[in-house]
Symmetry: C2
Subunit: 199 residues, 2 copies
């Protein structure tokens, strides 16, 4: 039992080291040698936990996704009005601080790596579409969504809008800063909610 | 005179070859050697037209932008109602066919390359924000934009939405296909236009 926990913890430690290396040096710096050095392990020890570099990278990308999912789960349990909760969750998805900007850097690096290596890893399979779908459907059920709207298209529109804002915040951090992100997300959500939902 | 024209044409020919190489092999395949081979020139001849690899890559990325700008200029001259023209221009910005999907592949590869190499080349400086700004301001002036909307935030919202749709169409071509793109862009534009504008 102890051994299994150790094994999992060691894998997490290595993945954390891999993410720090990628943030610092980009994907091309994410060699097994650099990651071993960053995690304080020998090459041999590292290979004991991950037999290939791709296995390590997939695990690291999953770690980024899991961390985000855990943050969102915490928010989803808050006992606050639906409009405020939706805003909080959407802002959590966006690169509103340095840590989340670094996660996007990793996301971009992974994406380019996977595409050029022909990997079947699905970078978009991060649960964000499912999350937005649940959010808007529950807003519709509770009457917070304006009744004349098309819920399916609103799901797609919000999903694209969030990723578009994320892209701009990442590529042009000065123009699309925290204040601008909050303004824009709030503006959009107000435009699809009934007056009662955000009053 | 002839010499200058030849020089410019040769540079265009080389940039075209560079783009084909990137589409086929990604940025890591965009070596001077591969581009020389694709363009049918010797390494020495290629170096005569571009003294560094970065100079060649910047020129190639500019070429992608210029081609897009030329297509949009043609659309902007059409004598059709403002709502239809706006739709046509927005769809032109999106990866609605194989050629434009390949251009996005190049765009992504460039972006990752520039960021990891610390280049100051501004990948977002592609004129799309300025284009959307002009489009919405002229719609506002002509009364096509719903008067209660905030024009500044609508510009940012449409800009983020377009790039978000582009990202999804590029990463998940099956789900976000041509039909879905048209539906979504039309839906958004109808939501910000007066009834008269699209009737």
């Amino acid at each position: 039992m102890t051994k299994i926990v150790d094994h999992d913890e060691r894998r997490l430690l290595i993945a954390g080291a891999a993410l720090r290396v990628i943030k610092r040096m980009g994907m091309k710096g994410a060699t097994v040698r650099n990651i071993a050095q960053e995690s304080g392990l020998s090459l041999g020890a590292l290979r004991h936990y991950f037999s290939t570099q791709d296995e390590l990278l997939d695990f690291s990308m999953d770690l980024v996704k899991e961390r985000a999912a855990a943050r969102i789960y915490e928010l989803s349990r808050l006992e606050i009005p639906i409009f405020q909760k939706a805003l909080k969750i959407l802002l959590e998805l966006l690169p509103t601080d340095k840590d989340k900007l670094a996660e996007m850097e990793v996301w971009f690096a992974f994406n380019t790596h996977y595409r050029s290596s022909g990997s079947s890893y699905n970078i978009l399979n991060d649960g964000i579409l499912a999350l937005i779908e649940r959010m808007l459907r529950s807003m519709k059920e509770s009457g917070a969504l304006r009744p004349e709207l098309d819920c399916e298209l609103e799901i797609e529109r919000l999903y694209a809008l969030i990723d578009g804002i994320a892209l701009h915040a990442y590529l042009d951090t000065k123009r699309v800063d925290y204040e601008q992100i909050v303004k824009l997300v709030t503006y959009h959500m107000r435009s699809i909610c009934t007056e009662e939902a955000f009053s």
